[in-house]
Amino acid sequence: MGCIRQFCTFSLGELSFGVDVRSIQEVILHHEMTRVPTAAPVVRGLINLRGQIVMAIDPRRRLGLPPRRSEAESINVILRTEDQPVSLLVDAVGDILDLGEEQMEPPPETVRGEIRGLILGIYKLPDRLLLILDTERMADFDAATESAA
């Protein structure tokens, strides 16, 4: 019997992603943001989370996905990371799924680029694929260098 883990799911365009619920601090609706000029484009801005300043990042940029077309407001998925919380701006938040640990498969060889180092594995759900993100590595970049997009 393998371990059952709970994943919070969210979407970026057509793609579905999952994050271990234990690494999620909270999910909040659109929040007023202050941009950080000259920072790498992955940094979308800073939000005030009850007195704590939290950096919001664009997971599309981080993963090397094409930019979002819709003008709809994003949702902040606040991740606990080793250092301080980081907000992922996602399109929509889905259900919490209970999935067996041993059903997770490594990303196929053909998945390349930035995204490869940032996903822990893939679940084959009946209707779609669920990509499990490595939250620590998502937050591990230097915003002062231009290449960190």
Partner: protein, 729 residues
């Protein structure tokens, strides 16, 4: 006495805590006699108390703790086996130490109590342990072994001195006052204080928000309540700030020892005197200045104070004195480190700086004594004749300067050769809440720490066009006759480069004049909003390497605003952070060799560059005002006579006659000259490698600027007469 009190207070608190731990350890060790860790801890407790007693001169307490230390030493090294007798005597020892501490707390001195029986008993235990390690120790006559007896004895011993304190004070029988100072204090986790600070910060923001509502709504009952809330919040904020304040004496307490050790090491004699030990500083600031201050003290002993025989020879006492002084002034803490040593001769600094190629001979000639003294803070500068283990390895005062500046402070040196030197360090009280100027640019708000703010200049209409001069997209402003380089905040933030204002538009320019290091510059912002006390919050580590921000804060409306790093902006704008671009505070000796140059055109495609720091003004004059004296052209300028040098003709070219002349006014050592040029082209920042290619007089050398080979003007030689000897770089 007050300063000593602080130290003793701390000693009492710490010792009490350690003794409580010792009590627990003594119980624990009975169950686990072999525990090395516990033994070590107990040993350290006695050792620490003994050591501190030596410092404060409490000989009795020192003797008993020394005996206890010895016993534990034997136990640690296995010369003695643990026994019930040992537990008993150590417990009694703890009680005796406690009583002494209580006595010190009340009267400032230890008790007149005869502890010799205890010391003897400890000694006997140790002796016996050395003879026979096997059998348990039987209590001998006069020795205290059974736990029951020491307790009784301790109680008995307590009786005489409890009578010292009047019973009317209502003190408990054990002699310790009901509310002794050390019991009136508690140790608090710094993390908790930080959190409180954060919450108070939030409260301040919420208050500001409510305050804004009441500006629109003048219901008097609300107004009154808000005023009270405002008052309470301010007081609470101040109170929480105070909890983080620590007297600078906490840091200084280590210095007497440091001075003693270092002076011995250097073969010198020195003592330290301190004034203002109670001056309070935020804990984080205190930690940040620990290393710089230690370094300055080392420096004072190693480089400042002379050897005893040298001191006697010049009529000073053999023992040198280092004075530390701390005081509050204008929201800053001033710390002065003065030594009565040899002082620093500017000429010697000049010589060293030249030897180490920190400055060129030309620069050296221009620097006055104050500028020369400042050279001591340059990287790679050390005046020690020999490398010693104390200092003189060339890592030195530049690190002090960097560290002090990192927390928004400054450090300066004053020196009187033969009389000594004084280092003046100015630092902010706290780093957590700072006054800041809120400005906007590109629709966003930014906070500028007020410590860097010199003044605000607002130009409207005509002035905004006329008084900002544009040289190929680089703006300059004449601030009371001095050229102030301008930096456009919008451009620094990645926005569009600034444009000279379009005609017809009513232009407004807001210039925030800032000081970064020794340099001034003007920051062009869209709007200046207000000054506010802001709570500084750190940036996510991912953002820390961006040089132009130093932190973030939450504004009254709950939105985040970034705090600008003035030094970082100056550097990003390509300004050399060390050099003085403003002619008034001219210390143009660069740590890095990046300098700014004014590029000028001489017509027929020829160009020249001159260092921006010598340029004081750019003028346009009417050709008709030029008068000719015997050998040169001059113009009446600002109530004086300004000699003109036409650079085109000076360097063998021709000029077309013009109605208006472009004049670059340059000064050196108080003398001005006006260079007549064809056009002013640009300002460039570069790290040029200046080569002497057998240049003609008046040319310093040749360098590559903007991928072009350009001759550098030797301004001093042109000012001080064309016949002056020319020097290569």
């Amino acid at each position: 006495m007050g300063e000593m009190d602080l130290a003793i207070q701390e000693f009492l608190i710490e010792s009490r805590e350690n003794l409580d731990q010792l009590d627990r350890d003594l119980i624990a060790i009975e169950k686990d006699p072999g525990s090395r860790e516990t033994l070590d801890r107990m040993f350290r407790t006695f050792h620490t108390i003994k050591g501190t007693c030596g410092f404060f001169d409490f000989p009795r307490l020192e003797t008993v703790t020394h005996a206890g230390e010895g016993l534990l030493c034997d136990l640690r090294e296995g010369r003695l086996a643990w026994s019930l007798a040992i537990t008993g005597i150590l417990l009694e020892l703890v009680d005796v130490v406690r009583r002494h501490l209580a006595g010190i707390e009340r009267t400032g001195t230890e008790l007149e109590e005869d502890d010799s029986f205890l010391v003897e008993a400890l000694g006997r235990l140790r002796d016996r342990g050395h003879d026979t390690s096997g059998p348990p120790i039987v209590p001998g006559p006069g020795s205290i072994a059974a736990p029951a007896r020491p307790v009784a004895r301790a109680a008995a011993a307590a009786t005489p001195f409890s009578g010292l304190a009047p019973a009317s004070r209502g003190e408990p029988a054990d002699g310790s006052p009901a509310a002794s100072p050390s019991e009136g204090t508690i140790r608090v986790d710094v993390g908790l204080l930080d959190k409180l600070m954060n919450l108070v910060g939030e409260l301040v923001l919420a208050r500001n928000q409510i305050f804004r509502f009441t500006v629109d709504d003048h219901t008097s009952s609300i107004e009154g309540a808000v005023q009270r809330l405002s008052l309470i919040t301010s007081e609470l904020q101040e109170g929480v700030m105070r909890t983080r304040m620590q007297p600078i004496g906490n840091l200084w307490n280590r210095f007497p020892r440091l001075v003693r050790d270092l002076s011995l090491q250097c073969g010198k004699r020195a003592k330290i005197e301190m004034v203002g030990k109670a001056t309070g500083l935020d804990k984080t600031v205190l930690e940040a200045i620990k290393d710089p201050l230690t370094h300055l003290i080392r420096n004072a002993i190693d480089h400042g104070i002379e050897f005893p025989e040298e001191r006697l020879a010049v009529g000073k006492p053999a023992e040198g004195t280092i004075h530390l002084r701390a005081y509050h002034e204008g929201g800053l803490v001033n710390i002065e480190i003065h030594d009565d040593g040899a002082g620093v001769a500017p000429s010697r600094i000049k010589q060293k700086a030249l030897e180490r190629n920190l400055i060129s001979p030309e620069q050296a000639a221009r620097l006055d004594d104050r500028d020369l003294l400042r050279l001591i803070f340059q990287p790679g500068f050390s005046t020690a004749e020999t490398v010693t283990s104390v200092s003189g390895r060339g890592v030195g005062l530049d690190v002090v300067k960097t560290n002090v500046e990192r927390i928004g402070g400054t450090v300066d040196l004053q020196s009187e050769p033969g009389q000594g030197s004084t280092f003046k360090v100015k630092i902010p009280l706290t780093l957590a809440i700072i006054p800041a100027m809120i400005v906007t640019s590109g629709g966003d708000r930014y906070a500028i720490p007020q410590v860097s703010l010199l003044e605000l200049v607002r130009l409207e209409g005509e002035d905004a066009c006329r008084r900002i001069e544009w040289i190929q997209g680089v703006p300059l402003y004449r601030l009371r006759g001095e050229l102030l380089p301008l930096v456009d905040l919008n451009r620094i933030l990645g926005g569009a480069p600034p444009q000279p204002p379009a005609p017809g538009v009513d232009p407004v320019a807001n210039i925030v004049v800032l000081q970064a290091d020794n340099r001034r510059f003007g920051l062009i912002v869209t709007e200046v909003i207000d000054t506010e006390e802001i709570v500084v919050k750190p940036l996510a580590w991912q953002l820390k390497k961006i040089p132009i921000y130093s932190g973030a804060t939450i504004m009254g409306d709950g939105r985040v605003a970034l705090i600008l790093d003035v030094l970082g902006i100056a550097r990003t704008a390509g300004m050399n952070a060390q050099g003085g671009e403003c002619a008034c505070a001219r210390s143009d000796v660069a740590a890095d060799a990046t300098r700014s140059f004014l590029l000028i055109g001489l017509g027929d495609g020829r160009r020249l560059a001159l260092p921006l720091e010598v340029v004081s003004r750019l003028e346009e004059i009417d050709a008709g005002t030029v008068e000719t004296t015997v050998n040169r052209e001059v113009v009446q300028y600002r109530g004086g006579i300004l000699p003109l040098v036409n650079l085109a003709t000076r360097f063998g070219g021709a000029t077309a006659p013009r109605d208006r002349l472009q004049v670059v006014v340059a000064s050196d050592n108080g003398r001005d000259v006006g260079f007549v040029v064809e056009s002013i082209l640009d300002i460039v920042s570069a790290t040029p490698e200046v080569r002497d290619l057998g240049n003609s007089p008046g040319i310093l050398g040749t360098a590559v600027l903007q991928r072009q080979v350009i001759d550098l003007l030797d301004v001093p030689s042109l000012i001080h007469g064309p016949a002056a000897t020319m020097k290569g770089a």
